[in-house]
Symmetry: C2
Amino acid sequence: MSKNEKEEHLAIGVDLGGTNIRVALMNKMGQILQEGSRLTEAYKSRDYIIQNMIKMINTVKGDYQIKGIGVGSPGPINQAEGRILDPPNLKSLHQCPIVEMLQSEFRDIPIYLENDANVAALAEARVGAGAGKKSVIYITVSTGIGAGIVIDGKLFVGAQGNAGEIGNMIISEKGPQVANLNTGALEALASGTAIERVGRERLGIDGGAKEVFALAMAGDSVALKIVEEVKTYLSIGIANLMHLLNPSIFVIGGGVMQSGEWLLPQLREKTSHLLFPSMRSHLMIEPPMLDHKVGVIGAGLLVFT
Amino acid sequence: MSKNEKEEHLAIGVDLGGTNIRVALMNKMGQILQEGSRLTEAYKSRDYIIQNMIKMINTVKGDYQIKGIGVGSPGPINQAEGRILDPPNLKSLHQCPIVEMLQSEFRDIPIYLENDANVAALAEARVGAGAGKKSVIYITVSTGIGAGIVIDGKLFVGAQGNAGEIGNMIISEKGPQVANLNTGALEALASGTAIERVGRERLGIDGGAKEVFALAMAGDSVALKIVEEVKTYLSIGIANLMHLLNPSIFVIGGGVMQSGEWLLPQLREKTSHLLFPSMRSHLMIEPPMLDHKVGVIGAGLLVFT
């Protein structure tokens, strides 16, 4: 492989998480050539964290020429300014001008920044469960609920970069009061946090979705009712998106989905009943195909527009 | 202007409505050179209606060379087959293969078919209130509620062409039972039909949105409460779309909006309160700029992709 070929075909992805930083050298198919991972140590200083990241990038880069560096960060971010805003799990990096900081180290290499949900959506859409599909909506049901929209292989982020904030979509006139969310918002009703809260209130347990689901599997009627409600709320959310965007495929992942693998087929069934009849046979809901490396792969794919 | 120039720059738009057929010869700026209009006479036969349409097209076409013919029809349509499916107001044209029928008359001229809501969205996005904006959502609040999504000047219609069906978006766990719509669907709660039904139930009037709004203006407390509810439902619908797609601008038209011009500024206010704070200053809601010719202009614009 000549140096020019390498430069055209390789990128570095950085998955900046609240717990781990992952870095990988990869090609546009999402195949990883070199990788590294370490604890973020999010309680330490901004400079400490960014310097570690730079070292990791240099390690996987070695002598390779690369086309660019893509960074996936917890949101919110300001993409135009290349800045991390105020993600709750990364207090040391609030207002961090991460693109500028990386740029001063990697002078001639384009740097891309995107929020982690969009980065995961891009990876699943291009080289995961949505590969080959024209329009993909990737939904994470985890602590929160978010979505990434990929049309013709490109992220659709909207006018100010905030598209996909489905957690704040109102699906009910009532619901618990949750800070920063609308009454009746999807995330307040069906996220991991919501399930944990309801589990505490109605079952007196602290284990969150995993434990609620286990009790439901064991036949506990209160837990079963909670599961039914969560399925209803999630189905409404997905049906709303289907009516609005009619995507080729939904890819639905996140911790809550992993806690109950039976959940996805039941969601398919329930969502289908909420669609216009002519749309039902076209509903595709699949689990993600990429594992914990989805973030670092998607970050690298940002480089290949 | 040479013949070649003409061919590149002119198109014919056909607005097939339940009441009128409008036809226009126009350029890609939506400027009309020739136009015609007549009653659809929807109760007459398929052949009668289509033959009239062909005559109208030939009249505005004259000797001009045209790049294509675009047709806007009430939905649902099957775009791949160029067929009108089963729009309630056009019974004679159910299952009509309109593209094939026009093609056999206009042999070498490309024919385009799109539903009327999308056609109006395209017109407002390209040459109306959304001109120059990257992403436009056009919403009609009329007998029903529908939306058209235009990204970078192009309609986004989704995998099977059904994107924009926001009337069936669930925003409440309760709501009246309406045929073909989900319980709690936006259209069942806030369309002209919904307002008419509530006006009948609570006020004993048959005049629909116009009369309900007039009574509210006159201070009738029941009518005022209905208006408040409608505003709430519509705001929820718009806020959901803003969180999901973050468009540059919303253009909101249709009979209900025309019945109360004070409605739009109040919707802006109310929707804003339902958004993440960082998104509020970016919310743009504007009325349409094009008048009753929006359909024929949008149909012609289908030709210029």
